[in-house]
Amino acid sequence: MVYGQKNTIFTSNQLLNMNKVVSGADEAIKDIKDGMTLMLGGFGLCGIPENCIAALVKKGVKGLTCISNNAGVDDFGIGLMLKTKQVKKMISSYVGENAEFERQLLSGELEVELIPQGTLATRCMAAGYGMPVIFTPAGIGTEIAEGKEVRNFNGKDYLMEMAFDADFAIVKAWKGDSMGNLVFRATARNFNPVMAMAGKITIAEVEELVEPGELDPDHIHTPGIYVHRIFQGKNYEKRIEQKTVRKK
């Protein structure tokens, strides 16, 4: 089944063939430079851009500020970039499960800004919606609020938090088409759609890349306008951090 009608009105038939496909992770990240700010999608090891992380490690860019809910584990995810000391600063909500991270933090090699998970997600969303700030009650009365503007609306205090400003957003989707439309799967969606909206340049790696018209427009989670580069990733490991099962 192909969604959408063949063009019979516009004089150009190229209108819906905006091709954002790049050859792979190396090409997608080729202009990421030292000192840039990157958003990386995923929650724990679920829905992380494995191919781009591997390419960033290979490229060896340094001094990166990484906005990501977690920092991976010692030998996977953003943990791989920590091992090679490419990360200057992490902006995350939870960074457990990573011994190298802890070592670098305690030795002062790595800077960390911990922010509430909902604040992290909503600061991404604000960037993608073109709004400069958000107001959230998360952190009121705690050390997170220190030095920040507080406003009272309808009798309740809210913290003003800025929209993120990231050079690149790197996300992982389940399926995508050559126009950059994305579909995510299960809880691998997590931060990916809001980060995809928030990057100055957004790179999407997908498990399956299809032609325009193969994805149902009604089922698209991220419209292609937010995505600048897309490629079909390979050799996904999709590691499980905490396998928990029950008996049959």
Binding site: S93, G96, Q117, T119, L120, T142, A186, T187, A188, V194
Partner: protein, 218 residues
């Protein structure tokens, strides 16, 4: 005195038909096992899922399907998946009826500390600050005293706060207590075999005892 399962069992009685519930990591996760069969409850996982089901059978685990504790889980029929911004949107907009979480300390005015111990590696607050800042109905599941034998129910928290004036009810291995709007822990129930005296000894904050305190039924 209750064990962890006992605390979870007692808290499960607070869940009502039609509730959307967010369960934190630790004892709160166990509560899912004791939700009465005759009520309909939807569990929210703040990484972006409504309708969380039990752990998968061996071999059926899916790397794309985890809960907020990063454990593999399943989805029940009628589930929905969404992004993290919407997940915290529904929390902030008070659509989630009940939040159950653990704590290191709770104060008699309902402040909670559960994310940071000065001098120790800080892992982060995750979604806890968002949850406690917005949820209207927060139950804390925790031990009454810490490993050093010190009370975790205090007049004022000593650890860095996660949120202020937010905890409504506490269930420990010794007791069920309400946190009163004007301050103070009101003793509601004793755990089986636990005396009011024992609860008094384990509570550093203002404890309010009125009349006979019944033993909890679990």
């Amino acid at each position: 005195m209750l064990d962890k399962e006992g605390i979870a069992k007692r808290i499960a009685k607070e869940i009502k038909d039609g509730y959307y519930v967010n369960l934190g990591i630790g004892i709160p996760t166990l509560v899912a096992n004791y939700i009465p069969k005759d009520i309909d409850v939807v569990l929210q996982s703040e990484n972006g899922l409504l309708g969380m089901g039990p752990f998968p059978f061996e071999g059926e685990e899916d790397a794309d399907l985890i809960n907020a504790g990063k454990q593999t889980i399943t989805m029940l029929p009628g589930s929905s998946v969404f992004d993290s911004a919407m997940s915290f949107g529904m929390i902030r907009a008070k659509k989630v009826n009940l939040t159950i979480l653990g704590a290191m300390e709770v104060s008699e005015n309902g402040d909670i500390a559960n994310w940071k111990i000065p001098g120790k590696m800080v892992k982060g607050m995750g979604g806890a600050m968002d949850l406690v800042a917005s949820a209207e109905n927060i139950i804390v599941a925790m031990q009454h005293v810490n490993k050093a034998g010190e009370s975790k129910l205090l007049s004022k928290c000593s650890l860095p706060l996660t949120g202020v004036n937010c905890v409504k009810k506490i269930v420990t291995e010794l007791a069920v207590l309400d946190v009163l709007p004007d301050g103070g822990f009101k003793l509601l129930e004793r755990a089986p075999g636990v005396s009011v005296e024992e609860i008094k000894k384990a509570t550093a904050g203002k404890l309010i005892i009125e009349g006979e305190i019944p033993e909890m039924i679990i």
